[in-house]
Amino acid sequence: MNGHTHNTDDRRELQMARSMCWHCQSEMAGEYFCDRCVKVQPVSKDLDYFTCFGLPRRLAIDTKVLEAKFYELSRAFHPDFYQNKSNEERSISLGNSAMLNTAYRTLRDPIQRAEYLLDLEAGAVKDIRTSPPADLFEEILELQETLDEFRESDRSSEHASTLRAKLHTDRTNLEERQRDMEARLQQLFVRWDALQDRGEATEQARTERTLILKDMRDILSNRTYVKNIVNDLVATIA
């Protein structure tokens, strides 16, 4: 994992070069602590979570590296170690810890990681929002109506058992589609990472990049709709 970290490293260097230690005003060379006065530094709001953990902007990440870095930084920022320090340092320790926890939770989960990456890239890719899935909406509304009908029915009636059987089939089908969507997402993750690794700046690479992000956006939002209806199904017919 060398070539593809290049961009992220450049960005980080730029960010660090511009900043000054809040305490001794010397130029910051260290990562989160001033090299000169050893004071803790606030994590910049512009720093994305990947950079924060020293990870490339990829969707397959080494969770061991992520975890190790999380523990390392958790110790470094932990408020317990700042109880006897100045107000500034205490508040930086709190802010950094909170940010670190959110960053870790986001990157740890593959879906949240992808959502976050999309947010980061959305600015770079115009029109990342695609048209709403009209067919899926229709399907969901219809299913919800059947669910309502079932909820209001006399559970011991024949009508209710017919409805229950139908809802069971719907549930199986939807869960099948969920698995299919996850598989397609996985494929997109692999394609995204391969593209990042190649690091090309050609027109073709840019087009592919946009396509991948759009497809990811589509599947991720459809996945949320399907997940909701499956949850409702499970809760009602369980």
Partner: protein
């Protein structure tokens, strides 16, 4: 975080819940969704002589989304098509006192109104 009184009221006593037949004359249907939370909202208007005489909604989502669409149908009734197009999500936010994390629910309601109006327009134009 607690819901405002108005949200709770609309949630417990939703106004105008239900639906019209899509094919019916003068009916415009808007179905929209919020990809962030997976909420789906259907909002319909019934137009006679350029005035919205009735409106109905069906929303599957959180309390704020239900309240936003319930309020929207209340506001829509009696408005002309042109006036209806001017309803803004910020009006809904203000009326229901929605917190920042629930603003997308009001956006969803505005989108639903726009979609229903567009559908009505399309139906009228194609005649």
């Amino acid at each position: 975080m607690a819901y405002s009184e108005k949200v709770v009221d609309h949630f417990n006593n939703p106004r105008n819940m239900g639906s019209f037949k899509k094919e019916e004359d003068g009916v415009g249907t808007g179905i929209v969704g919020a990809p962030e939370c997976g909420d789906v909202m259907k909002l319909q208007i019934k137009v006679q002589n350029d005035t919205i005489v009735d409106a109905k909604f069906k929303t599957f989502g959180c309390g704020s989304a239900i309240a936003s669409s319930s309020l929207a149908t209340e506001w829509l009734k009696g408005k002309t098509v042109e006036e209806a197009g001017k309803i803004k999500n910020t009006d809904i936010v203000q009326e229901l006192n929605l917190p920042p994390v629930k603003i997308h629910c009001s956006v969803l309601a505005e989108d639903a109104i726009k979609a229903a109006l567009a559908d009505y327009q399309k139906k009228t134009d194609s005649k």
